[in-house]
Symmetry: C2
Subunit: 335 residues, 2 copies
């Protein structure tokens, strides 16, 4: 690899994305991307007795589907990188406890999916791995219950709030293959904008997205239009607008090529999700479903994925803390 600038890396040999899989919930099934997902559930329980167990099953089944599509024996997979939003990341550990693959647990909040692809790419490029799994998940009901209020209360949600995506995405990264390829990445720093409103995550994370995006462009010497599309993970409508403004103040116009996975996931008017989708599963499923297919069909040839995470919990909010954000970027190209 070649380090460029302060915090970006260009891989010696682009890392192949051999296969992906995505499973989403019933609300995502009603959204505009439904035809791109491998499986859409009819309800949030999927036959399990709790939302947490359903989320573990999402992880388990998405990973096993991705492995199966890749045609690689799971005994030939060197590392599994995974994480989620549940306390102590139990969706990943329970979902993957039977895989029998060395397991590296990650926590980057909703940035976890790209974080996992960065770590996997680095280990493949550094010759530590030939085949790896990357996965992340979230679940609307388990997240609401844990971070906000019991769903049974039917609390009103403010207009700036986002809707946690129920879904899990998984990608198999390999040393060899025909692409699409991961060609470079920019790991992010923690950026705290001082936002304290836990119902306005998009605003809290936009500063981190700006920091990583501008850093990526500066380090690589690229203009935004090097990419066919730049996608953030889950800034939603509000965070998306803030990001456009922030990078514009740094001299970059991204308006025409930029979108957000949380914006893409749901219909704005009729699905009533307010500021759009969020959660680790948002970028994980939009990438593993929609974006990967666009790359395979060469409708996109160069994509910059920037996953954004809010590094807080309900206790920190109750204690009056602000919400630190993080964003990790990875570029994926058809070569």
């Amino acid at each position: 690899m070649k380090k460029v600038g302060n915090q970006s890396y260009i891989l010696n040999k682009p890392v192949n994305i051999a296969a992906t899989a995505s499973i989403v919930g019933p609300k995502e099934k009603e959204g505009p991307l439904h035809q791109f997902f491998d499986q859409c559930l009819e309800d949030e329980f999927w036959g399990e007795s709790s939302w947490e167990k359903a989320e573990s099953k999402l992880v388990k089944e998405a990973v096993s589907m991705a492995i199966s599509k890749s045609g690689i024996a799971s005994s030939n997979i060197d590392f599994c990188f995974a994480g989620d939003l549940l306390n102590q990341c139990i969706a990943s550990s329970f979902g993957l406890r039977e895989t029998n693959i060395p397991f590296i647990g990650l926590f980057g909040a909703c940035s976890t999916f790209v974080e996992s692809m960065i770590m996997a790419s680095a280990l493949i490029d550094g010759d530590f791995a030939t085949n790896t799994i990357c996965t992340a998940s979230s679940h609307f009901c388990s997240a609401e219950k844990q971070f906000r209020f019991p769903l049974e209360l039917g609390n009103q949600r403010p207009p700036s709030s986002q809707w946690t995506v129920t879904g899990s995405g998984a990608a198999i990264l390999t040393k060899d293959g025909t692409g699409p390829f991961i060609t470079s990445f920019t790991p992010g720093k923690i950026v705290d904008m001082g936002i304290k409103d836990a119902n306005n995550m998009g605003a809290a994370m936009a500063g981190a997205a700006e920091d990583t995006l501008v850093r990526h462009l500066t380090d690589t010497g690229r203009e935004p239009n090097y990419y066919d599309v730049i996608l953030t993970g889950d800034l939603g409508y509000i965070g998306k607008d803030i990001l456009i403004d922030l990078v514009s103040s740094k001299g970059y116009n991204i308006k025409d090529i930029y979108n957000d996975c949380g914006v893409l996931m749901f219909y704005k008017e009729k699905q009533d999700t307010h500021s759009g989708g969020s959660g680790c599963g948002c970028i994980a499923t939009v990438f593993s479903g929609f974006v990967y297919q666009m790359l395979q069909e060469k409708k996109y040839k160069k994509v910059l994925m920037i996953a954004t995470g809010a590094l807080m919990n309900s206790t920190s909010t109750q204690q009056g803390e602000s919400i630190p954000g993080i964003a990790h970027a990875i570029s994926i190209e058809v070569l």
Copy 2:
């Protein structure tokens, strides 16, 4: 690097541990290792208004102390790997939000410290990094409050329970230097022994420790006595005995060279911690304090550190789930 066997790696160029720092709480100050820690606190709050904020301060100060000891400018540090036990790892993200260093959040429960050293070593060996920080923390009061009962209740603890260490350890890993060196590692798989008693973590994690230890020895072709000492992270008295039995059934006798950081941290009789210490901070501080000094003084020349983690949360226990364990191993040598 050279992959040996199924899941172990020998580094091309041993990775240098340039400096470490450790800060512990008042109970650890009364334990047998107190003289090895850089700082021992007088109380669990350290001037903060909550235990969570005190834990963040532990992380912040241990990292800044380690950076300062290493003499490396923080602008020359490529990655920070960190994690803890609090929901959504807030001790790490709040403690490190001002570092301005690319941040990779990890969750491996109490295996996090060695997990961070594995990722940092791989990135240094793979030429992605020159200097890195590895850190992990735990706090008795924030952990009891989150995982068990309000401390104010004064609940009785069963004899198999362990005492979460209040402390943070940090290590600076670099490409060049005079050692001690990380020479190899074995990342672990998730192993679920079916234990459901959240007050018997040692038993729940012993199977993972066995799996990783036996895998490490088989992969490298080493006998246990290749090492001066083999140390697990926090199996405690009960888990330690189980591990000795389990590996004995595989034909390895580790009795004379094996110990556990949770056993080392407290006096068994007079400190009333029952089965010993636990928490991410246990192996992090015992390594960063005691073990690192032993290596520097060449009293130990070859050490195998096996950090163990229980991948559960309080919801999974309430839902009747068993406790999956994981263990990551790293060997550190004076060359």
